[in-house]
Each structure stands twice: as structure tokens, then as C-alpha cells.
């Protein structure tokens, strides 16, 4: 028993959870921006995958992983725009459009991998992102271990969490965005340019997923593999809901999911006389329980999933 507690309260578990949470946090905040303007975004999964692929491609072509990150952001923006076109302009059902996007990107990335690297399984190794050590912070005992040495995307994640919260709840853009997700017609009668804000928000959502994807491929490992996102987009959407459509909440929820995952991995190493499969189930069971509890009292934006025609 004490072995298990040791693992739970081990600083390495907390530190590993930060790394695991990065793609979840980016995608979950992408989910916040999308759902706050009324668009259900199941496409987070595909956007992450697209980002992961583009990042490796950028690094492969230039040898510079930072160019890879920029390419992932750019491709994310384009994917976000395509998703916006389908859900806003062509008024597709949001769930169908999201699932469609995921299938499209799974197919496209696999196909491109075959063309570029001649393999459907994994890409070649590319240059990944290196860790940056912050001198002062890294020498503080516990904090240093948690925050002292990471690659650039981890630091950027903390900035994004805080900035997103400020944008949503302290700026005119954020207020307008929230009004649109709750009551688009009210926004319309206030003279708010609904479509412009919705497109901006969805493109931003794509950019964030691009960053999350880039972390998956260039931050974790140094290659891309087929279906690399492996359901993280769906988990991120759940984190967005559990976090109450709030960037801070989304961060907390993502971190919780990531923590259980880190725990699971470390517990497997303990030889607990329990089948590994059972331990691997723990994070998913926790996700289900947490979500079942959160769903009961959560209250999504009132106009989520509904189409609003601005044209007359």
C-alpha cells in the first residue's frame, strides 16, 4: 500500500502529468473557444492529428523543429477554417462535420506519410524540440523539478491558459463571443458581427490544436505515427466540458486526466499482482465517473449545436 502512495505523491508523477497534459490542454482550450461560439467541436481529434503531422513535416523539410511548430499552427488554422466553413456557412450538423473532419485527416495524414516517407506506420526520425532550462526557477527544490526544464510548448501552454481566460472574461471580444454562444439573435440585434467572431474563434481553435499536435510529435517523440492522437481530442472535449467551458477549468480537468494516466504508467512498473490491463483502465474509468458527475450539473452555452442564420 505504501508503495502505491509513494507513486501517487511522487514528484515525478506530477512532473510527468504536466508533460502528458500539454496536448490535452491546448485542444481543450480550442474546444472552449469553439463551443463558446456555439459550435460543438468533435473535430479536435482530427485537428490534433493534422497538427502532429504538419509539425513533423516542417521539421523534416527544414531541419528546424520551430518551423515545424509554425507549420502546425498554420495548418491548424486552415483546418479550423474548413471546419468553420462546414458548420457555419453550409450549416452541416456539427457532430457529423466533426467526425467527418477526423476521418478526413486520419486518411490524409496516412496517405501523405506513404507518399513522403514510403511507410504507412511511422515517419522517419526528425529533429525534435529541445528542453529549455530556466536558470533561477530550476534551482528551487520542488518548483524547479516541476517547471524548471521543459520545451517551449509547455511554457507556451501556461501562457495560453492565462491569456485565454483574460480574453474570454475581460475583453470586449470575449464578451461578444460569450453572447453569441448563449443567444446569437441577441448578439445580432446588438449589431455584433457574429460570423466574423465565430470564424476567428474556430480558426484560433485550430491553431491551438496545431500546437497540441506539434507537442505530440515533436515534444514527446521525434516522429509521426498513424493515428497518433489516439482519442486525445475526444478526451480534450470532455475536459472542456468538465472544466465548465472555461480555460482554467479545462486546464484543471486536462491535468487530472493526465495525472491518472501518469499514475497508471508508473503503477504498471510496481508489479502489484494485478493484471496490467486493469491498471490501464483506471484513467478511463475515472474519466467516465468524473464526466457522469460533471454532466449532471454542467450547463453548456445555451445555443451550442444550433444553427443561426444571419442572412436574410
Amino acid at each position: 500500500m505504501s508503495e502505491i502512495l509513494d507513486v501517487i505523491f511522487n514528484i515525478n508523477t506530477f512532473s510527468a502529468a504536466i508533460r502528458i497534459s500539454v496536448p490535452l490542454v491546448f485542444a481543450a482550450i480550442g474546444g472552449v473557444f469553439s463551443e463558446r461560439v456555439g459550435v460543438i467541436n468533435l473535430g479536435l481529434e482530427g485537428m490534433l492529428l493534422g497538427g502532429a503531422f504538419s509539425a513533423v513535416l516542417g521539421s523534416y523539410l527544414t531541419g528546424n523543429p520551430y518551423i515545424g511548430v509554425l507549420l502546425a499552427m498554420f495548418m491548424g488554422a486552415i483546418i479550423g477554417f474548413i471546419f468553420a466553413l462546414f458548420t457555419l456557412k453550409f450549416e452541416a450538423n456539427h457532430v457529423v462535420a466533426g467526425v467527418g473532419l477526423n476521418i478526413l485527416l486520419l486518411g490524409t495524414t496516412t496517405w501523405l506519410m506513404q507518399i513522403i516517407w514510403g511507410s504507412r506506420g511511422t515517419s522517419v526520425n526528425v529533429t525534435g524540440l529541445s528542453e529549455i532550462t530556466i536558470p533561477l526557477i530550476s534551482s528551487i527544490p520542488i518548483i524547479g523539478k516541476l517547471f524548471g526544464s521543459h520545451n517551449i510548448l509547455v511554457y507556451l501552454m501556461f501562457v495560453v491558459v492565462i491569456l485565454s481566460w483574460i480574453v474570454l472574461f475581460r475583453t470586449p471580444f470575449g464578451l461578444r463571443l460569450r453572447v453569441i454562444g448563449e443567444h446569437p439573435k441577441a448578439a445580432d440585434t446588438l449589431g455584433i458581427k457574429i460570423r466574423k467572431i465565430q470564424y476567428t474563434s474556430l480558426i484560433f481553435s485550430g491553431v491551438l490544436c496545431g500546437l497540441g499536435g506539434a507537442y505530440l510529435s515533436l515534444g514527446h517523440l521525434n516522429w509521426f505515427s498513424m493515428n497518433m492522437s489516439a482519442g486525445r481530442g475526444y478526451m480534450a472535449l470532455a475536459a472542456n466540458i468538465f472544466g465548465g467551458w472555461n480555460p482554467l477549468g479545462a486546464f484543471g480537468a486536462s491535468y487530472l486526466f493526465a495525472f491518472t494516466d501518469a499514475l497508471q504508467m508508473r503503477m504498471q512498473a510496481l508489479n502489484l499482482n494485478v493484471p496490467n490491463e486493469i491498471i490501464q483502465m483506471v484513467p478511463y474509468i475515472l474519466t467516465i465517473l468524473v464526466l457522469a458527475g460533471a454532466m449532471i450539473r454542467s450547463r453548456p452555452p445555451a445555443a451550442l449545436g444550433k444553427h443561426y442564420k444571419t442572412s436574410r
Binding site: I166, P172, R178, H183, D188, L190, G191, A302
Partner: protein, 498 residues
């Protein structure tokens, strides 16, 4: 001086002409009523003015200049403001956030909430529109929500205010205070366009009235030169009985009895508390109250759509508390639901099918529907209840609200019921249909049936009901034979009679 002039405005939706060649002038600083039945084209016209629709033909002049208003944004720039019938408010935001959204005061790129609240307070003081700047919209009363809507418009410096059926959701006290606000706005130099289908209000508040019927302007008159009777005639196109004549009648045996009924919602929130109601033969009993005080729950409870936690419901002395809706209907309960499109009709299905709805077993043989029998029965009801339609194959959603309601009433009154639960039977229907529905309810009373009338229309309750019970926060707070309007208003607002 004319601040607004409509010239030849025409707007069609598919085969329906909502506005046909409308010419209309609004003078600066007046309160101008647009009076008309539902579907007369009032709302369409102001939606065109406010840039929510674009007209097919015609021009609008604001202060003498032709204006192309194609978005609300443009309308707001021109000094127009609209207070919508269904409030355009975000429930979860504060009043201040609702007011400033889209035109936020800023400081260094952030919303300056301190300044925003100050501005809101300044305008609300100027026009006596008391609003709490930090309150969340869903927690404030309907009257206060309406004041937030007015503030939204004034905050955007509107000079012309359009009110779309603003009194529909208000108590008599709230209406009185709205009228004070309107006069205050007028004194401040604002021009007001007031849409309504209520004659009494028109007479009370307006300087001039324009009557619309079937998308056309019938006439514009000075309010001081006209009468409710004349206006009603212009609205409907024929003479209308404004007051129904009710014959004196002695009530008979008790038909429906509700004993100590209580109902709880989520988290044990009480929705109905210890309700006692009895309705006798040949009697109409009225339930008065502001929407959302338990009327819907009471309706659902009696109809058998909700399970109660305590108490008993008796129909003709028989306990029906645990019985399902179908069994209750079999024992002679008829139900005119408050939401006809949600509960009373299948809008995308044809008239005949809707007419036999719930009674279809009487029209089937060996598991098949008997089409001829249905056709004959439907024709009879359509004729008897004056349901205007092109054919039996029409879908219900092609009918006007009034005709839809007549269909529900025709169906429910034709099954030879002993008790009729009539919830908001005239909601959203026009003067002509209201008259018809009222006569039918009195007719059924004459036949010694029992009627429970749940209504938000005080006029309706006062002219039809033999007794009125007032419901407030799920309790019956008062029961009497006669009330004045003021008394009902106070009781409905939760006050006590002194």
C-alpha cells in the same frame, strides 16, 4: 415632422404576403401604435425597419432621407432601438454585460466595468428604470428584464424606440409602470412605435394608431378621435363583441376535485404546494397568475403528465391520482394544452389526423383506420368550429395560430367530455378567434360541463370565470367570485390585500 416614412413596403415569404404596399408616417415625439391581429404584418414591418428583414419593394425615409437598412447594426447607427417581444437577453450574464455587449467602454483593451456600471446607473436614474447593475439576468423579474432591454436601447443612444408587444408578459402593475416609463421617454423627446393587439392599451397610451389587417394598412387615426369598438372593427373587418354575455347559472355537483396536491421538482424544490381546487358542473373556475408560478405544473398534473408526491385527484368522485392520461381521457377529461404546437398538435401532419388525435380508436376497425369515417367527422368539425383551411390534406403548420387553436378546441370539445382543462386557450390568437373561443367555452358551461380555465389574460378570467383562484409560487393564495383588476394584480405579484 415625419421622423419615419414607409413608402410602398412589400415583403413576401414564399406564397404569403406579409406586407403589401405599406405607406405609413411616424411623427417625431409621438407614441404611435401599430394595431392588428396576429399575422397582420406588424412585426414583419418593424423587423424591416430594424434591418432584421430586407423588404422586397419600397423605401424607408428616416428624417426625410432615404435609408437602406440591411442590418441591425445600421439601424442602431440611425438611432433606432427595438425592445423585442421575446427578450434578447443572455440569462447567465449580468444586466450590465447584457447592456454593453457590442459597445463596451474600454480601458487599455479591456472592458471597463466600473465605467460601464456608472453609465448604466446614469441612464437608469434619468428615466426611472431601476435595474441592479450586478444582477444575473435569470434571477430578476420579467419587469426588470424588460427595463434591461430598454436600457440596452437607450445606452445605444436610440431616438426611436420600437416596442414589440411589450405588455404580453407583464402583470397589470408592471404594465402601469411601463406606461409611466413610456410617457417619460416621450417627454424626453423620444419617438415610440408600440406594437399591440390590445385595444385597451392602444387607447390608453397612444397619440395615433395605425391599424393593419392582412398585411395592409387600413387607416391611421388620432387616438382621441376613435373608440375601441371602431378600432376592433377595423382590425377584424366586421363588428366584434368585445364583452361576452354570460347567463346566470347555478352550479351543480362537483366534477373535479383536487385535494392537498403537492409536487416537487429537482432538488426537492416545491412546484405545487398543498393545492385544493374543486370544479362543479356548469361552472368555469379560473386560475390567475403570472407565468411560471405553477400553472404549467398544475396543468400537467391534472392531465396526468406528471406524478404528484402528495394528495389526490378525483374525477366524478373516482380517484384518478394514479391513472394514466389515456384512462383519464377515457373517463371524460378533455385538455386544451397551453402550448398547442408542442402538446396539442402534430404540426407536420394533416388536419384530419390531428382532429382524431387521441380518439383514433373510435375510427379504426381491425387495426386499420377508416378513412371515410375520419373524413366525414373532420369535415363536420372544421365546419362547426370555423377552421379556415384549403383542404383536409393541409398540414397543421400551414394554418394561422387562431385556426390551429380552433382545431384543438374543436377536437377537445367534440368528444363529449365531462371536464375541460383549458390552459391559455386564447394565447397568441387574434380578436376574432378569441371571441369565438370564449363563446364556445360559455356554450359548454351552458351544457352543464365543468371547466378549469388557466389563463394569463385577466380580462378573459374576469369575464368568463364564475370563481377565480390566484396561484403564486405554487400555492393558491386567494379564492373569490369577483376581483378588481388591481386586486388580481397585487395577488399575482405575491402581495396581500390590505
Amino acid at each position: 415632422m415625419n421622423i419615419i416614412e414607409f413608402k410602398g413596403i412589400t415583403k413576401t415569404f414564399g406564397s404569403l404576403t406579409a406586407n403589401s404596399n405599406i405607406d405609413l408616417q411616424i411623427k417625431k415625439g409621438e407614441i404611435h401604435c401599430l394595431l392588428g391581429e396576429n399575422g397582420a404584418g406588424k412585426t414583419t414591418l418593424v423587423n424591416i425597419l430594424f434591418g432584421l428583414y430586407n423588404q422586397d419593394k419600397g423605401e424607408i425615409f428616416i428624417a426625410g432621407k432615404p435609408c437602406d437598412i440591411n442590418t441591425p447594426h445600421k439601424a442602431i447607427e440611425l438611432g433606432l432601438g427595438m425592445i423585442h417581444q421575446h427578450f434578447m437577453l443572455v440569462d447567465r450574464l449580468t444586466t450590465t454585460e447584457n447592456i454593453i455587449a457590442g459597445e463596451e467602454p474600454m480601458k487599455n483593451g479591456f472592458v471597463d466595468m466600473t465605467r460601464a456600471k456608472k453609465q448604466v446607473r446614469k441612464i437608469s436614474d434619468e428615466y426611472h428604470l431601476s435595474v441592479e447593475p450586478d444582477a444575473i439576468v435569470e434571477n430578476i423579474s420579467v419587469g426588470e428584464q424588460q427595463r434591461v432591454e430598454i436600457l440596452k436601447v437607450l445606452y445605444r443612444k436610440a431616438k426611436i424606440l420600437i416596442f414589440d408587444e411589450p405588455t404580453a408578459v407583464l402583470t397589470p402593475q408592471e404594465v402601469a409602470s411601463l406606461f409611466k416609463i413610456l410617457n417619460k421617454l416621450k417627454a424626453g423627446g423620444k419617438t415610440i412605435i408600440f406594437i399591440t393587439h390590445k385595444l385597451e392599451e392602444t387607447m390608453k397610451i397612444s397619440d395615433r394608431v395605425t391599424v393593419l389587417r392582412k398585411g395592409k394598412v387600413i387607416d391611421t387615426v388620432n387616438t382621441s378621435n376613435t373608440s375601441p369598438k371602431e378600432l376592433a372593427k377595423m382590425m377584424v373587418g366586421r363588428e366584434v363583441l368585445l364583452r361576452v354575455e354570460k347567463e346566470k347559472k347555478k352550479s351543480g355537483e362537483t366534477v373535479l376535485e383536487i385535494r392537498n396536491v403537492s409536487l416537487y421538482g429537482k432538488h426537492k424544490r416545491p412546484l405545487l404546494q398543498n393545492i385544493n381546487i374543486s370544479v362543479n358542473q356548469g361552472e368555469i373556475v379560473g386560475i390567475a397568475g403570472v407565468a411560471g408560478n405553477g400553472q404549467l405544473e398544475l396543468e400537467e398534473t391534472i392531465a396526468g403528465l406528471r406524478k404528484i408526491q402528495a394528495g389526490q385527484i378525483l374525477l366524478n368522485g373516482e380517484d384518478i391520482t394514479g391513472k394514466q392520461t389515456k384512462e383519464r381521457r377515457g373517463k371524460g377529461l378533455s385538455h386544451i394544452p397551453s402550448d398547442r404546437l408542442k402538446r396539442g398538435l402534430v404540426p407536420s401532419s394533416d388536419l384530419a389526423k390531428n382532429i382524431i388525435l387521441g380518439n383514433h380508436n373510435a375510427f379504426s376497425k381491425k387495426g386499420f383506420l377508416q378513412r371515410d369515417k375520419i373524413k366525414k367527422y373532420s369535415k363536420n368539425i372544421i365546419e362547426k368550429f370555423d377552421i379556415r383551411c384549403r383542404s383536409l390534406q393541409d398540414n397543421v403548420d400551414q394554418l394561422s395560430g387562431g385556426n390551429q387553436q380552433k382545431l384543438v378546441i374543436g377536437r377537445e370539445l367534440s368528444t363529449n367530455p365531462v371536464f375541460i382543462l383549458a390552459a391559455q386557450p386564447t394565447r397568441g390568437v387574434d380578436v376574432g378567434a378569441i371571441e369565438f373561443i370564449h363563446q364556445n367555452l360559455l356554450e359548454i358551461r351552458k351544457k352543464n360541463k365543468a371547466v378549469l380555465l388557466i389563463s394569463a389574460e385577466l380580462e378573459e378570467l374576469m369575464s368568463l370565470a364564475d370563481r377565480i383562484l390566484v396561484i403564486y409560487e405554487g400555492r393558491i393564495v386567494s379564492e373569490k367570485k369577483k376581483y378588481t383588476r388591481e386586486e388580481l394584480g397585487l395577488l399575482m405579484a405575491g402581495e396581500k390585500l390590505g
